[in-house]
């Protein structure tokens, strides 16, 4: 009898994570899922307790008018497949589960999982196109929570949720790893920037910077670039040794308890270090998890974080606006470029004007996608989809839609201040062999094109 890998219990130990990681691709995990028993009484009770008038009304007044169909990139990318209409997807999963008061079987739950993670990224665009204001993305997020609680969650997200619960980060990055990475990045850049520092746990700083564990583990140069930009702008800043992880795979997984743990860790760092504001890295879902949804998970009635929490784009725009960061006109982007709006902080947090303000400083030939801003399409890999092997084909098909949108602008460079969008664009370039298309975060662009003030010591390397 092999070890239990697939169960409703969240992973809370290193051993649990290792056991799951050993099961390459989740083969055994998904095999076990086929026999995972559905606790129908508990599911019925969960629905009774948490499915209130908003969701029930949405499902019951849906006029089946199909106005949402064209709003969904999955529908479009799959040649208008009627099974990809948001209304159909939610009615045949959550709707059916409610109509049956939770009396559904394992096969139903696995199908619901496939739809909730493989056919929806919770981008919330359909809600913008529904005359009745039915936000199917919100309902899919709710459905993910129910599925997670009952053990029906994709393998990678079970692991991701476990990572957060065990390491306080989406990857196995310990506090020591993190602080050492900061020291390493300072050393690495000291020849070029002799006064560069990454102050850890400094109290009463103007800015506390929080980031994405991927940057620590895979892209430490991104931390160096953030440090250089804080240094050059004369920002009094710090990073916390604990509570530095801004992301939340738990949100993608529907692990609400894990979400609360994450955001509380960050808010505890705020309590401890008392910064005037917090700035988060170029990540969309992290911003949503910590700033938009996070206050609620942390039990803050007003829905506001304890101090102002800025997305990186807000901080950059502020620096450009106030002249703390100056761009060398000769180094502005000359090639045609476009901007990928992250659903999580543009549609769902209104920062579209801010990113365009940045473009006005740095790009000579900026081209909008159509549609854009609050009406943008998801990159195709949001909501956790990028990371789920089981739905790789579905994701790759979905990427086509964004790729066509990008190509229609004629841009050669896509600026993507969001990790998930960045990954999706990297993958679409590879999958569809569009090798002339480049993509980038903001930080490397800014470091290359900023004017270094005279008082900052800098050696050309």
């Amino acid at each position: 009898m092999s070890e239990v890998l697939c169960s409703p219990t969240p992973v809370t130990t290193k051993e649990g994570i290792h056991a799951l990681l050993k099961d390459k691709g989740g083969e055994e995990y998904y095999r076990q899922m086929k026999n995972l028993w559905v606790d129908q009484v508990a599911l019925g009770r969960d629905l009774e307790r948490t499915c209130k008038s908003r969701t029930r009304t949405w499902l019951s007044i849906c006029a089946h008018c199909a106005m949402c169909a064209d709003s969904c990139f999955f529908y479009k990318a799959n040649d208008n497949d009627p099974k990809q209409i948001p209304s159909y997807k939610i009615q045949s999963t959550l709707g059916e589960m409610i109509r049956k008061s939770g009396r559904v079987d394992t096969e139903f739950m696995i199908n619901a999982m496939n739809v909730a993670w493989g056919q929806c990224t919770c981008c919330n665009r359909c809600g913008v196109y529904c005359p009745h204001g039915i936000d199917t993305g919100v309902m899919f997020s709710y459905l993910r929570g129910l599925l997670f609680k009952h053990g029906f969650v994709p393998w990678e997200l079970k692991i991701g949720s476990g990572m957060h619960r065990v390491y306080g980060a989406q990857m196995d990055v310990t506090e020591e790893d993190w602080v050492e990475t900061c020291e390493w990045m300072v050393e690495e850049n000291q020849d070029e920037w002799p006064d560069l520092e990454i102050p850890v746990d400094k109290e009463n700083a103007d800015v506390m910077y929080i980031l994405n564990a991927r940057e620590v583990k895979h892209y430490p140069e991104d931390i160096a670039k953030a440090a250089i930009l804080f240094h050059v702008t004369g920002t009094n800043w710090t990073v916390p040794s604990k509570g530095w992880e801004n992301t939340s795979l738990t949100m993608f997984a529907g692990d609400w308890e894990g979400c609360a743990q994450n955001v509380k860790r960050v808010y505890a760092a705020v309590d401890r270090l008392k910064p005037k504001m917090v700035v988060g890295t170029e990540c969309g879902h992290a911003h949503r998890a910590t700033v938009v949804e996070g206050p609620y998970w942390a039990g803050r009635d007003s829905g506001e974080p304890p101090v102002p929490f800025l997305h990186y784009v807000e901080w950059v725009a502020m620096c450009l606006r106030t002249g703390k960061l100056k761009i060398d006109p000769a180094k502005k982007i000359k090639v045609p470029c476009t901007l990928q709006d992250s659903c999580n902080y543009v549609r769902n947090h209104g920062l579209g004007k801010i990113t365009r303000e940045i473009m006005s400083y740095i790009a000579e030939d900026f081209r909008e996608m159509d549609p854009n801003g609050d009406h943008n399409f998801c990159c195709g890999g949001g909501g956790g989809l990028n990371g789920i092997g089981r739905y790789r084909n579905e994701r790759n098909v979905a990427l086509k839609h964004k790729l066509e949108q990008i190509k229609a602008t004629g841009a050669e460079l896509v600026i993507s201040p969001c990790h998930n969008c960045w990954d999706a664009i990297r993958d679409m370039v590879e999958v569809y062999e569009e090798h002339n298309l480049k993509w980038t975060f903001l930080k490397p662009l800014l470091v290359d094109m900023m004017i270094i003030p005279d008082h900052i010591r800098h050696n050309e390397i």
């Binding site: 908003r54 029930r56 006029a63 913008v128």
Partner: protein, 226 residues
Amino acid sequence: MMDFITGPLFALSLLIFVGGLGLRVILYIRGLDAKLERVAYNFHFSRSIPGALVSIGKWLIPGGTAGWRKQPVAAAAFFLLHVGAIFVPLFVLGHTVLLEDLTGISLPSLPGELADVLTIATLCGLVLLVARRLTSPALRQLNSCQDWLVLAVTILPFFTGLMASFDTASYDTWCILHVLSGELFLILAPFTKLSHIALYFMSRAQLGMDYAIKRGGATRGGAFPW
């Protein structure tokens, strides 16, 4: 017969309609949960109320939203249906007399010709919606029995009302059918998708508040651009 269906039965139907929809609105509001939905309904009124009003209002204007502009044919059918569906039942002469007799409330009435035109427009809208439901692969995936029931229940009072106005020879029969089908509509409304008559305003207000309170209301600069 006519006295009964335009008297006690009408009063009962109206009571079910108004009371039922009122109750659904109350239950909707009472069922909202700031913690579960993660929307601080009791905070930020200065932006949540305008957000709710814009969310309701823009969708009431033809071409007022990106959604309507993207699908002009569907939008035309919806507006053809809804303009008549709201104004004719409320303001057609026979109805205003009936309402005044029953409740003492006196409403202005529409000129007969205008009521006929609006009724025909409503029926055209309904026919377009039926055609759309039958022909569009997307809608065929979604169609349910209730969708057809709701369409039928809406078509009947308008069709019979129009016939009563034009087919004067059978006026009494059409009139009885019209009153009965109208009452069927009133009775079914709170229990079917027709409840959107009231819940549209709740649902739209909620999403408008959601965007205004949580999803960028403080940073976007103005209400969500629907």
